[in-house]
């Protein structure tokens, strides 16, 4: 399982980076989405992977990291997901405004590169 998670993170990150480096704003926004999945999974996996050990306290189970999965990366990623949504929204609107102002969807606001 560890191999597949690591590969998935790598594939998402690679696709994301490739898209971020493209010239069209829509490509960049898609790239950022993929990149944020990769990064969220990466942070999440830093707390190690466990099956069936949700960080929800049950009676009679000792409250330590052997019996529950690490809640800290989860709290961080939860914040990251919401902020990621906000940033996607902002970027989308900036993208649209730039398209309206410059008449193009090129990231530099012009077709011809200097």
């Amino acid at each position: 399982m560890e191999e597949i998670i690591a590969t998935a993170i790598g594939a998402l990150a690679a696709s994301g980076v490739w898209l971020v480096l493209r010239p069209r704003t829509y490509q960049v926004i898609m790239g950022l989405c993929l990149l944020s999945y990769a990064v969220n999974l990466f942070i999440f996996s830093m707390g190690s992977l466990f099956i069936g050990k949700e960080p929800i306290i049950r009676e009679g189970i000792k409250q330590d990291l052997l019996h529950y999965t690490d809640p800290l990366p989860q709290a961080l990623v939860l914040t990251a997901i919401v902020i990621g949504f906000a940033m996607t929204a902002l970027f989308l609107v900036v993208l649209l405004a730039a398209r309206g102002l410059t008449g193009t969807d090129h990231v530099d606001g012009g077709e011809k590169q200097p």
């Binding site: 990466f42 960080p55 929800i56 530099d108």
Partner: protein, 971 residues
Amino acid sequence: MSLIALLLLPFIGSCLAAVLPHNARNTESLLAGGVALVGAVQVAAWFGPISRGEVLVESYTWLPSLGLNLVLRVDGFAWLFALLVLGMGALVSLYARYYMSPQDPVPRFFSFFLAFMGSMLGVVMSGNLLQLVFFWELTSLFSFLLIGYWHHRRDARRGAYMALVVTGMGGLCLLAGVLLLGHIAGSYELEQVLASGERIRQHGLYPAMLVLVLLGALTKSAQFPFHFWLPRAMAAPTPVSAYLHSATMVKAGVFLLARLWPALSGSEAWFWIVAGAGACTLLLGAWCAIFQHDLKGLLAYSTISHLGLITLLLGLNSDLAAVAAVFHLINHATFKASLFMAAGIIDHESGTRDIRRLSGLARMLPFTATLAMVASAAMAGVPLMNGFLSKEMFFAETVFIDATPWVEVALPVIATLAGTFSVAYSLRFTVDVFFGPPATDLPHTPHEPPRWMRLPVELLVLACLVVGIFPAWAIGPILATSAAPVVGGVLPAYSLAIWHGFNAPLIMSLIAMLAGIALYMSMRRPMREGRLQRPPLAGLLDGQRIFEWLLLHTRRTAAAAYRRLAPRPLQAQLFLLVAAALLAAAWPLLPHGLSWGSRPKIAGSGMFVVLWVIAIACAVGAAWQAKYHRLAALTMVGVCGLMTCITFIWFSAPDLALTQLVVEVVTTILILLGLRWLPRRLELAEAPGQRLRARARRLRDALLAIGVGGGMAALAYAMLTRPTPNDISGFYLRRALPEGGGTNVVNVMLVDFRGFDTLGEITVLAVVSLTVFALLRRFRPARESMQLPPQQQRQEPDLEMDLINARSAPDTAQGVMTVPAVLVRLVLPIALVVAASLFLRGHNEPGGGFVAGLVVSVAFILQYMVAGTQWVEARMPLRPLRWLGAGLLCATATGLGAVALGYPFLTTHTAHWVLPLFGEVHLASALFFDVGVFTVVVGSTLLILTALAHQAVRAHRPGHLPRATAPKGAA
């Protein structure tokens, strides 16, 4: 009055002065003068205890965790400076009342003036070196503001800028030096630093520290090679020149040298740097002063030269020289300030400061002329003046110095030469201006200035005379008191008398006097004929040119580096950024490599592998298709998101999975709304050369992407195969139930342990949604995307629905999507119940404010989607802005509630009740915080989505645009 009150008084005065009316010259100067006078009287009253060797100290806790205290400390030397700052301040305030014209905005002037006075007091009364640096920087800042007071003048702006750059850079060096000094001495307290002189001089870091501290002091006191800023600073109003640039601020440099004298002096390096800079400045300043045509320029160079003299004295490593330096410091302040004021009077009365135009003013301004001549005599070092006494002490020091032979010869020669020059420029100042035929082409006819404008000059000149004639009586005790701390407490033997017999210093004085007169006489003719416009020889040492060259090249280098490192095209920038990130991540791995750990792995699952293979294929497919097939790419990205969500739930993170799922939905709707405004992209054939270049670029990007992806995969794998770190998470697990009152640890962390973080997060969310809202209010879509989309163009034109007739449709969804519309309306209450359930169980089970808020937003957005914007808003006013505000208020109020009860911000309290029917109920105050989170999430999500949705309505106002250019029903 306590020391802190004395320090705060000018700052309070500054705030008051700033709000007085525009033309309140009398009130302003009364306020400034009053503040200074009260302070000066108070300081003077401390003379008793101070002269007995007491040190007044007040200490206030500032940053106790860092061992930093606000220490105010007044010993004899600081006392002298405080008196100088306040006394001069009082005189200059009076003078400025008459100098400033009714058109000048005086509140600004006096406000800065008083603030400067406070900063300068802060410098001299600091008992802590860091505190001293802080006030030091403040003086630079207020000096900048005061030089640039007449900011409509280009020379004032440039002069202010130059002064700020030079003294500001010096201040930064000083900060670094002081940090080193504190490190060496083990404390920033002045007391301890002064006591550990031996240890400081032995330390290996001493040379570096010394150079840095001296850079600060020498730039501030306009010492060679940083002297050039002072003449430029003369663009300031004359009271500023008199106060800051002759009496106080430029003395801060020598103040620091004298202050740290017991700790830093006594080494070879000190002698060569300080005395060397002082000697160069002394000569250069005096030489340049002779050839100035501007009265204030002459005085500025003369000030530079006298500061050089003081620096030289301090650099000689002799106690007696240090006493002489303190003495000259006092004398210079008195005669130079009075000369500046006299120059200001001349400027004020005649309308010019050009020595070549001024002549014979003694007949028109007899009193001012007399005063100026007496002060000039003090500047030239004529007997019976205070300048003579300290100059004699200086000459004596240069004669009796004990150093290498050539220095023993050179120093007296330099001193005599400088004396000669000072006699020459003093003569130029007096003879050229006050004698000769009366000037005829002056802009104004000069008259004696008002009585009170002359008073400060009179008092200062009187001081020059009294000190010069009865030195031991007038200045003896003050000098002894103020010089003692500089030399470490024990004064050397010296005598303050006019006549010491016919000795070497007197001979040097005589030589300087005669040579000076001769020099002046020999230069009158060429000067009058205009042959000596600029100082000969000094052009080789033009600090200003070097400064400007350096500044220009710094700018050019910075611009070139900026162009190279931050190229205009975004793609190139991002490439550099990602490459740098990759390098930074790989760098620490280079020496050791990356090895896998030995943690037992989780048994694989075929289903999981298959799902991820699909998702990875989708990620690559999205990367492939995002340019030409946006909808397909969005769908594929959505698959990746869903797979991420499944991974969360697979590995015990139900909260993450829930949130990810709903965010995924909202993001997809959002982007779908945006797709409509993007231009249609068609595959174009590229020219062969272009195609090759584009391929090379894509290959390069692909390599970088694979590098980043591979690196992240390797890092993740290396971490995953290692045992779980035993970190702070255990703390949260143990405390969640007893202290947070909830069993869902992630939710408890969000609303309780890390509540502050969440508060920040929802604030960001609110700000983003408001930004989106504001950006879209003025949204101008591109022209070609204003037409209806082809799908809608194909609808019946008389169909009454708001997808077509956005503004006028009486009924929506008529004929289109009627069944889904009904179903979706039924979904709304169900979704609200689900959200309520998610919200309420959030503290103990997966759920919480975030998820609940997103579910509610999705439910509302669904209504928009099937029924249209207008239909929904006509029946259901949602007002997302109010949701936003209410949510933020609720969350903040919960946090402040804890403060009101005496706990830190956002502390949670859990109440336990037993209610009939319900049984035992736990109610944590975090619940109210979560209500705030929920409300903000609903508000901001709705605001963002509806703002985007409204664009479609706005752009299609009936009659606003031609409906379709294509014939109806065309494919």
